[in-house]
Symmetry: D2
Subunit: 327 residues, 4 copies
């Protein structure tokens, strides 16, 4: 195998807080191991177009505390074509890049894996997405920050909910994974939590809200994941609930993209720093076609094809915690 | 005039951060001046129903930093009827309340003014609303906090906007007043700001966005007040803009009720403390049918009928500031 | 064994964010399992004095997001005496309490363990301390929040440090454990981190700072744990460093008690909720003399005598991460 | 008078949040009025050394939300000498700068005023300091942000204070001006506030604390300005107080430099934007030797020699507010 003298790094897919910390760690680990580091802008788009820049230790100063990704991110249709990947390979050759670190989600890894197979080019992935929906790692970069953003927003909503004896439906991110909804729902003291992995049924929801109103609760928060299984959009759901109560105002808040931004939490900064170093060390050790993840607080290496999520498993203990603490 | 021995306080209309600080100041000023203080729950609703509680200095401990209102708030249809106001008056008599402080917006003051005229009952108002849309006061309680909540949210959105070269439309509160949109728009570095007081026209908006894209800006934030004059809802507006650009993703975020909650800013806590004391002192000095406001950093007394907002005036200097700083 | 019908809960030792969430979970789990729950104020002091109160599900509403502990905490000298513990036992009998949950650190558990042995009274502990210095659990309640508080403070200090090309020494909590310093130091991008577990030597520190100044860094943050091994207090250390540089201003900030307060992070709220339920379930299952902890994301039961920390182990990987990322 | 074609901007003295927003506004106003804008690094030091850089509208993107000053700041001894100012003038000539905007405090303006007199060089000042101690302006840039930073810190300290029934002495910035202490003290619900403008006497302080302890308060916060008149440093004061109580733990927190940093509040961002534009417009209108300030929400022009603070006046109304609300 060719000796690695130049590692490139890019961020791809939806951005998440902590991506900058991961890039910083990749760059500084490269400096530490006395190899060159190249930044690629706008993910696979910039890879194909040759939007490269040499990075040194000072290039990444004062970014560990910033949300987003200074290398920018993009979703690339062209990289899904053989022609696009060919151009990408040529850019890497032209710029004398020997290995690649990609920070992103399962779509990013799927693309990386195809590319690796076609060109036998060493790639290591780092899980960066707020959704925490990647197999083989306990946590993805940005997830912990997103949880804190969500509960801070709901803490504010609770102020007004309890001042007005209202019910609030709060939509959080998560099309396929209920991790944000379930954890932030518990953390925010939500009355009910609707997640993609489970269909509680609209009737059970209404019954539960009626019970808790009878028990003396005067205001409530229901956290709803984007991909919930209730079969109505959140505004229809609000109307439906209002129709089943007398004198109970229901309000909707869609938290939206504030969940993707913000200064990363300490957890995410440390995680990103560890994973960034781990990725460089894995490449230098000859690994390729893997993601560096974290399991039980230790770094692990997971083949790309094992990172693609199948059905997300429900954490039964957390469901019970949600049930008990909202009593 | 009857000597005042018992002052009641209530919060009415939409809640705002700092209402608790205002209640606390009313209570403690009452203690200071050795009179009784009575809290009324759920605004005019609780006034009519007799939901009263005696408050002492310790009743309001540890609330200055809490959003919302522990006395709760409500909008009362019944208080708009003569019958409702009669019941309210009887409750005040029964509970030996001699004067009333109401914290709320212009709807609250309008109700108070009618009640005052009918029963010659001393009432002083305190402006509490995030919208800053009350004549006769430079600031309303909660407005400064809402501005900070909005810019913190947009700072997060900017992280993801600039990572993806996207345009974000961010809707903020303000059906009739553009104060939040204009100030938070300047504070958040928005590209354009749409307010109820001015119709910039959709074409000028699109032209401006095209110009700034040409000038090298790769991402943008447009702040839109609820009551903007563009004639489309924010989702339609997003579609329209997307239709006028190639390859420019537009996203919408509706900030919603997070703007009403949260720990009040220092500005709002101090303002609320001053107004709460001012209201008690005004009642003791024989004032009634007025709002205590703030003008040029001094407390002022404003007759209720001058607090009702007519057309909100545009601050031309701020419009220009927005124009220049978004260049 | 006697059937458990009434569980009491208290918080003891230094308070930490998330203790309220733990109490809430203990109360609601008791309600869920249809047993009575009794709150004890001011830790072992209130236990001895009989400062008890029955709690129901509504007693703990709106506290999950609050720092501190509404049951208050204290350090009790009297509980270290046989006489004190006798009184405590009598209070428990008198109030018909069958089992006890104590939230605190290793001092709390040591007291609990002695009491358990003397009176064969079922006690389960929950680790609540910001220091993360308890054996047998990966995390203690409040630690994650404290890390975020520290990095937010250092992010602010960095603003002024880099505006003035200054060196800041920032003291963080941790007399015996460097977990806060090491993790927050990495998260805040510190230049150097001084921890109790390792004596880097003052000369190596100065040399390292000189090297990084030569490498082009114009400002630096050094994070210092209270119990660092450098052999000077932080103000003497600042003077010593200043004496070894020309024209390099050194400033000291002692973060102090802000590290103990604040709204708990989502991580701490969920952790506290899980541990609170786990404690009740353990008592109902017949456990006693144990702490409920978390290992590899699963709840675990740890005998009290295994929770007392011996020498804290250094996490060698994190030390290396700190080294590499501060390059 | 010479036509102005090139305006330079620098920040000097202690940094404050919002300075970046002010620089941004100066730059973009220059672009708007079609003149050149030059940034000078490290205040008067960089002016003397010729550390200049041309800035355009894009140079100041994404900085409105950042604390500190990207142009950096410094205190310059050399600029106090005639020789230093001569070099400064030569650098301005060499770089074809026609006018200067300086952002800073009264020391900055004093230097500017001398320079103006010696070289008849147009200079306009912008008040940037967290201390709010400049005559002729209601607010200085950074003051509002510092207030919020202080109350957020004290909110955290209150969590632990009330969990442990403790008294906390919290030192805040302000050697000569009590504005931060007085406003943040009211905002944080402090028991007592010690400011430079008033010597309450240590006995009165102790008596007051005893009274409030008798009245049922179990924890207290005392806010102490750096320049308080009590005649003891804060640690001695803590000891003295502890000596006058039985069983009352006193703790000290010195907030220090966190007060200078952090993302600016909306108020400071808007203020800085207005003042920055105002400074450019004033220079273009032929003004020199003045500060642009804000009075009663309108921009005002204040001769430099009127900005130097004499004795700071106490706001008697706020002292009374503090008294009443801490009852």
């Amino acid at each position: 195998m060719k000796k690695i003298k130049n590692i490139a790094v890019l961020t791809s897919g939806g951005d998440s807080p902590g991506m900058n910390a991961a890039i910083r760690a990749v760059v500084r680990a490269s400096v530490y191991y006395k190899i060159k580091c190249t930044g690629i802008y706008r993910g696979y788009e910039g890879l194909i177009e040759g939007d490269f820049e040499t990075l040194d230790a000072r290039s990444v100063k004062n970014i560990i505390n910033r949300g987003g990704t200074f290398l920018k991110s993009a979703r690339s249709k062209l990289f899904r074509t053989a022609e696009g990947r060919k151009q990408a390979y040529e850019q890497l050759k032209k710029n004398e890049v020997d290995a690649l670190v990609v920070v992103g989600g399962d779509g990013t890894f799927a693309g990386a894996s195809v590319f690796k197979k076609e060109y036998n080019f060493p790639i290591v992935g780092i899980p960066g997405t707020i959704d925490n929906d990647i197999s083989g790692t306990d946590y993805t970069i940005g997830y912990d920050t997103a949880l804190n953003t969500v509960i801070e927003a709901i803490d504010k909503i609770r102020d007004t909910a309890s001042s007005h004896n209202r019910l609030f439906l709060v939509e959080v991110m998560g099309r396929n994974a209920g991790d944000i909804a379930l954890n932030a729902g518990i953390g925010a003291g939500a009355e009910e939590i609707l997640i993609p992995e489970q269909d509680m049924g609209i009737n059970r929801l209404v019954e539960s809200l009626k019970r808790s109103r009878k028990s003396g609760k005067t205001s409530s928060i229901v956290v709803v994941a984007e991909g919930d299984k209730i079969g109505k959009n959140i505004f229809e759901l609000a109307e439906y609930i209002e129709g089943n109560f007398e004198n109970y105002e229901v309000r909707v808040t869609v938290l939206g993209h504030i969940q993707r931004g913000g200064a990363p939490s300490c957890f995410d900064r440390v995680l990103a720093s560890r994973l960034g170093i781990g990725a460089v060390e894995a490449l230098l050790a000859g690994d390729q076609d893997i993601m560096i993840g974290i399991k039980n607080r230790k770094l692990v290496k997971v083949p790309f094809n094992e990172t693609i999520t199948g059905e997300n498993e429900i954490d039964l203990e957390l469901l019970k915690v949600a049930d008990i603490t909202s009593i």
